[in-house]
C-alpha cells in the first residue's frame, strides 16, 4: 500500500520536473516540443556512462549521472536551438517535434542503447531524492521570475519587437531559455532512468512529449508553481479514478484531453491562475534624489548641441512604392523636433528606420554613432535610442511597474545569479531598479497605477505608460509615435509640458503627431512630410505660415485647372506615378 503511494509521489515529482522543461521555454513564448528528445539522450547517455553504484555508492552515482545528463541535455538543446533560432510559433514546434522523433528512431537503431528492448538501469531514485531535485528546480525558477532576466523573458513572450526596442538581445535570451529547458529535461531523463529500471526509446516518444506539454499548460506557465500543480493534478486523475472503481483504459486519456481543452479555452493561465499573484510595489516613492544610484549602470549623453542623428538621402521603398524618399535631416542634442504630415506620408516608416526596425533601401543614417540598417534593434537601443509605438506595444500581462522595469533593462544590473544565492547586493540593486522605475512612472503621473496590469489601463494611461517605459532606459534620443493620439486638449497640454520638461533635462526628442497645435506649441523645429518627402522644415512660426503645409493636410484652395487634358486613369490613358502595393492602410 505504502509502496503504491511511493511510486505515485515520485511520479508527481518527475512529471513536474519534465513540465518545468516546457515551462522554461513557454515563459519566453516559445513552443518547443523537443524536450522528450533531450530527456531521451540524457537518460541513455548517463545510464551507459554512469559508474557502478556498488563501487561509488548510490547517491554519488546518481549525482554523477545527473551531471552527465544535464550537460548532455543542455548541449543537445544548444545544438537544436542554434539553427532553429529564427523559427517562430508553429515552425519551431514542428522542428523540435521532428528532432525528438529523430532521436527516438536513432536510439532505436543503436547497439549501445539496447535497441527496442531498452537498457536496464539500477534503481536509485526514491521519493525523497525526486522531491529534492524538484525543489531545486522549482527554486531556480522561483528566483528567476522577478529577476531582470526573468522579466526579459516574459517581455519577449508578450511582444518580441518591443523587447528588442528596450535593448534586450532576444536571440541570446531565447537560446539560454532553450538550453535551460534542455538541462531540466536532461535531469528528468536521468531521474526517470534511475527510477523505472528499464528505459526504452519509446518512453520518450510523441505521447510523452504531449504529456509534458499538457502538464505544463494545465498547470500554467505564468507562475513558477504551475508545473507542480499540473503534475499533481494530472497524476491524481487516474488515482481518483481507481479509487472510484472506474477501470476502463480509455477514460484517463479522454479526461486528460478534455481537461486540456477546457483549460486552453477558458483558463489560458492554467491552474496557476487561481493562485493570487502578488505584484511587488516599491516602498520608496521615487524622490530620494540623494541616493547614489550605484545599482544602476550610468549612461553617457552627448553635450547640448552635438549631433544626435544625421540622415542623408534616406529612403525606403516597398516594391516600387516609395514610402520615404530622399530625406535629409539633422537632429541635435537638446532639440524637440516634430514630424508632421498627412496620413500615409511616411512618418512612421522614417522613424522605424531611425530606430533600427526597418532597413533603409537608400541613403544613410547615423544615430548616436551607430549606422542604422546594419545594426540590430537592441544595439540601436543600447546606443541611446528609445521609442514608443503608434499602436501601443505594451507588455500586456505585465504590470505597469514591470513594464517600466523592462524599459530599464539597459541601465539595471543583472541579478538572477545573485538572487539564487540570496545575496543582499542583489536585493539592493533590485531596489534601485524599482525606485528608478517608480521615478519614471511618477514623471508621467502614473505611480498610483504601478501595480495595475498594463492591459487594464485606459487608453490615455497606456500611452503615458509607454512613455514612462521609454524613459526608463535613460535615453539620449526619445522617439514618440503619436503620443497624443486620443487625448483631449487638457491631456495634450499636459503631455506638451512633459515633453518640454524632458527636453530641459537634456533629452533630445523626436515625435510624430497629428495634433498640429500641440506640435506648434512644443517643438523647437518642425519637419513636414508628404508622399514620403520633406516638403518643409522650420520653426513653428514658419511652418504655421507655410501654405504648402496647410494644403498638404486640407487640400488646395483652388480647383485643379484643365480637367480634360492628359487622359484618365479609368481609361488607362493617364500615367500614374504611385506604384502598386496593395493595402497601404493607415500607414503614416
Amino acid at each position: 500500500m505504502l509502496s503504491d503511494y511511493s511510486a505515485t509521489i515520485t511520479f508527481i515529482a518527475l512529471g513536474a520536473i519534465f513540465a518545468y522543461s516546457f515551462y522554461a521555454v513557454l515563459v519566453a513564448g516559445q513552443l518547443s516540443l523537443g524536450q522528450a528528445g533531450f530527456a531521451s539522450v540524457a537518460a541513455f547517455t548517463s545510464a551507459s556512462l554512469a559508474p557502478d553504484p556498488d563501487q561509488l555508492g548510490a547517491v554519488p552515482t546518481l549525482l554523477v549521472a545527473i551531471v552527465i545528463g544535464m550537460a548532455v541535455g543542455a548541449l543537445a538543446a544548444a545544438l537544436l536551438g542554434l539553427p532553429t533560432m529564427r523559427l517562430r510559433g508553429v515552425f519551431l514546434a514542428i522542428a523540435t517535434l521532428a528532432f525528438a522523433e529523430a532521436v527516438r528512431i536513432l536510439l532505436l537503431n543503436q547497439e549501445w542503447s539496447g535497441g527496442a528492448q531498452g537498457m536496464s538501469v539500477p534503481k536509485i531514485v526514491n521519493p525523497g531524492l525526486a522531491w529534492l531535485a524538484l525543489a531545486v528546480v522549482a527554486y531556480w525558477f522561483w528566483r528567476q521570475g522577478p529577476s531582470r532576466y526573468g522579466r526579459a523573458l516574459r517581455a519577449i513572450r508578450e511582444d518580441e519587437l518591443a523587447a528588442r526596442a528596450m535593448g534586450i538581445d532576444v536571440a541570446r535570451h531565447r537560446l539560454s531559455a532553450f538550453v535551460a529547458a534542455g538541462a531540466v529535461a536532461g535531469l528528468y531523463g536521468v531521474l526517470w532512468a534511475f527510477f523505472v529500471r528499464l528505459i526504452a526509446p519509446e518512453d520518450f516518444g510523441f505521447s510523452a512529449a504531449i504529456d509534458g506539454l499538457v502538464t505544463a499548460v494545465v498547470g500554467g506557465s505564468t507562475m513558477f508553481l504551475g508545473p507542480l500543480l499540473g503534475s499533481a493534478f494530472l497524476t491524481m486523475v487516474p488515482e481518483v479514478q481507481r479509487a472510484l472503481g472506474v477501470e476502463a483504459g480509455w477514460i484517463r486519456p479522454f479526461l486528460a484531453s478534455l481537461l486540456l481543452l477546457v483549460v486552453i479555452l477558458f483558463l489560458p493561465g492554467g491552474l496557476a491562475s487561481f493562485l493570487p499573484h502578488r505584484l511587488r510595489v516599491p516602498t520608496a516613492t521615487g524622490d530620494d534624489v540623494a541616493s547614489d544610484h550605484s545599482g544602476l549602470q550610468p549612461r553617457r549623453h552627448p553635450a547640448k548641441g552635438e549631433p544626435v542623428a544625421h540622415l542623408v538621402g534616406l529612403g525606403k521603398e516597398y516594391g516600387g512604392v516609395h514610402a520615404v524618399r530622399d530625406v535629409d535631416l539633422e537632429i541635435r542634442s537638446g532639440e524637440v523636433v516634430g514630424l508632421i504630415g498627412p496620413n500615409g506620408a511616411g512618418k512612421t516608416t522614417l522613424v522605424n528606420m531611425i530606430s533600427g526596425l526597418v532597413r533603409p533601401s537608400s541613403g544613410r543614417a547615423t544615430v548616436l554613432g551607430v549606422t542604422v540598417g546594419d545594426t540590430a534593434v537592441h544595439k540601436v537601443a543600447a546606443a541611446g535610442v528609445s521609442r514608443t509605438f503608434q499602436h501601443s506595444k505594451l507588455f500586456a500581462r505585465l504590470s505597469a511597474l514591470e513594464n517600466v522595469l523592462v524599459g530599464g533593462h539597459l541601465v539595471s544590473r543583472p541579478t538572477f545569479l545573485r538572487r539564487l544565492l540570496w545575496l543582499s547586493s542583489a536585493r539592493r540593486d533590485e531596489q534601485e531598479a524599482l525606485e528608478h522605475a517608480a521615478r519614471c512612472l511618477r514623471r508621467v503621473g502614473l505611480l498610483q497605477l504601478a501595480s495595475s496590469r498594463a492591459s487594464a489601463l485606459s487608453y490615455g494611461d497606456q500611452r503615458r505608460l509607454e512613455i514612462a517605459r521609454a524613459l526608463a532606459s535613460d535615453p539620449t534620443l526619445l522617439i514618440l509615435d503619436e503620443p497624443a493620439a486620443g487625448m483631449n486638449h487638457v491631456e495634450a497640454a499636459a503631455l506638451s509640458s512633459l515633453i518640454r520638461s524632458l527636453a530641459e533635462d537634456g533629452l533630445t526628442i523626436l515625435f510624430i503627431e497629428h495634433n498640429v497645435r500641440m506640435v506648434l506649441e512644443t517643438c523647437h523645429r518642425i519637419v513636414v512630410l508628404d508622399f514620403g518627402q520633406v516638403i518643409a522644415t522650420g520653426t513653428p512660426d514658419e511652418i504655421a505660415a507655410n501654405s504648402l503645409v496647410v494644403e498638404a493636410y486640407l487640400g488646395s484652395e483652388e480647383e485643379d485647372p484643365g480637367d480634360d487634358e492628359g487622359g484618365s486613369i479609368a481609361a488607362g490613358t493617364l500615367p500614374d506615378p504611385t506604384g502598386g502595393g496593395a493595402g497601404i492602410s493607415g500607414r503614416s
Partner: protein
C-alpha cells in the same frame, strides 16, 4: 517498376492527407493537429461500415467522406472558433486541436478497443492487373484514382468556384473579404469540413492499402504529413501533392536500399533541412510568420 508504383500508391495517400492539412493552414493560418485523429477515426469507421453494416468498400468511401466532413465542422466549432480574436490564437489553436485529437483517439479506444482491426475477408476484390511488368491490385489502382480525383476536384474548387474565391480572399486578407460581404465564418467552417473530409478518405484508403487500422496510425502519419507540407510549402496545394508523392517514393526506395528502420528518418531529415534553409518550403509563397 514495382517499387515505383508502390511508392506512387502510398505517396498519393500521403498527398491526400497533406492537402487537407495545408488547406487549413494556407487559408486560415491555423495548424489543425486534430487532422491525424480524423485520419485514424475514419479508418476504424470505414472498417465498421464494411464489417457490421455489410457495405462494400466502394460505398464505404463516400460515407467516410461525409463522416470526415461532419467531424471537420465539429473541430472548427469546438477547437478553433472560440479562439477567434485571442492574441495567442496560434498557440492556443495548436493546443486545443491536440486536446480534441486526444479525445477522439480515446473515444476510438472505447468503441473499438486497443487492438488492430482489419477488414473482413473478402472485402477486397481479388483482381490483379499487370502494368509494365509490375503487379498491381485493383484496389491500389482505385486508391490512386480516388486520390487523384479528389485532388483535382479540390483544385478546381479553389481556383474556379465562388467558394474557392472566397477562400483565397480570406487567405490573403480576411478584412477585405469581410468588407466585400464574404461570410468568413461560414467559409471557414466549410474549409475545415473539406479538409477533414479529404483526411478521412486518406485514412480509409490507407487502411485498405495495409488492411489494418490501429490507434497509433494518426500519430505515425502526423509527422510525415507535417514534413510533406513544410517541404512542399505551407499553404501550397501543388506542394502538398508533389511532396506527398516524393515522400512515398523516397520511403519505398529507402526501405529497399537502406533498411526499413531508417525509413522514417528520411522525412525528418528533409523537414529539418527545409526549415533551416527555406522555411517557406519549395513551392510556398507564404511569408513565414514572424512571432
Amino acid at each position: 517498376m514495382q517499387q515505383l508504383l508502390n511508392g506512387l500508391f502510398i505517396g498519393s495517400i500521403y498527398a491526400l492527407f497533406a492537402i487537407g492539412f495545408t488547406l487549413v493552414f494556407g487559408i486560415l493560418d491555423r495548424l489543425n493537429l486534430a487532422h491525424p485523429a480524423v485520419f485514424a477515426a475514419s479508418a476504424f469507421v470505414g472498417i465498421e461500415l464494411v464489417e457490421s453494416a455489410g457495405m462494400s468498400i466502394w460505398v464505404a468511401i463516400p460515407l467516410v467522406f461525409v463522416f470526415g466532413a461532419l467531424l471537420g465542422l465539429v473541430i472548427e466549432r469546438v477547437a478553433f472558433r472560440p479562439l477567434k480574436g485571442r492574441p495567442d490564437a496560434h498557440f492556443a489553436g495548436l493546443i486545443s486541436s491536440i486536446a480534441l485529437a486526444g479525445m477522439v483517439i480515446a473515444l476510438l479506444q472505447w468503441r473499438y478497443g486497443p487492438d488492430t482491426r482489419r477488414f473482413p475477408i473478402g472485402a477486397f476484390p481479388d483482381v490483379r492487373l499487370e502494368v509494365a511488368g509490375a503487379q498491381v491490385t485493383l484496389l491500389q489502382v482505385v486508391i490512386l484514382a480516388v486520390s487523384v480525383a479528389l485532388m483535382v476536384a479540390l483544385t478546381y474548387l479553389v481556383t474556379r468556384s465562388r467558394l474557392g474565391r472566397g477562400m483565397r480572399a480570406i487567405a490573403e486578407n480576411p478584412t477585405a473579404a469581410r468588407v466585400l460581404g464574404v461570410n468568413v465564418d461560414r467559409v471557414t467552417a466549410t474549409t475545415f469540413s473539406i479538409s477533414s473530409a479529404l483526411g478521412a478518405v486518406a485514412g480509409v484508403l490507407f487502411a485498405m492499402n495495409v488492411n489494418s487500422a490501429q490507434l497509433g496510425m494518426g500519430t505515425a502519419i502526423e509527422l510525415k504529413g507535417l514534413a510533406v507540407i513544410i517541404v512542399g510549402g505551407m499553404g501550397s496545394l501543388p506542394g502538398a501533392l508533389i511532396g506527398g508523392l516524393a515522400l512515398g517514393l523516397a520511403e519505398v526506395f529507402a526501405v529497399q536500399y537502406i533498411g526499413s528502420s531508417w525509413r522514417d528518418v528520411i522525412a525528418f531529415g528533409l523537414l529539418f533541412l527545409i526549415l533551416l534553409l527555406r522555411p517557406q518550403g519549395l513551392l510556398g509563397a507564404r511569408r513565414v510568420r514572424e512571432v
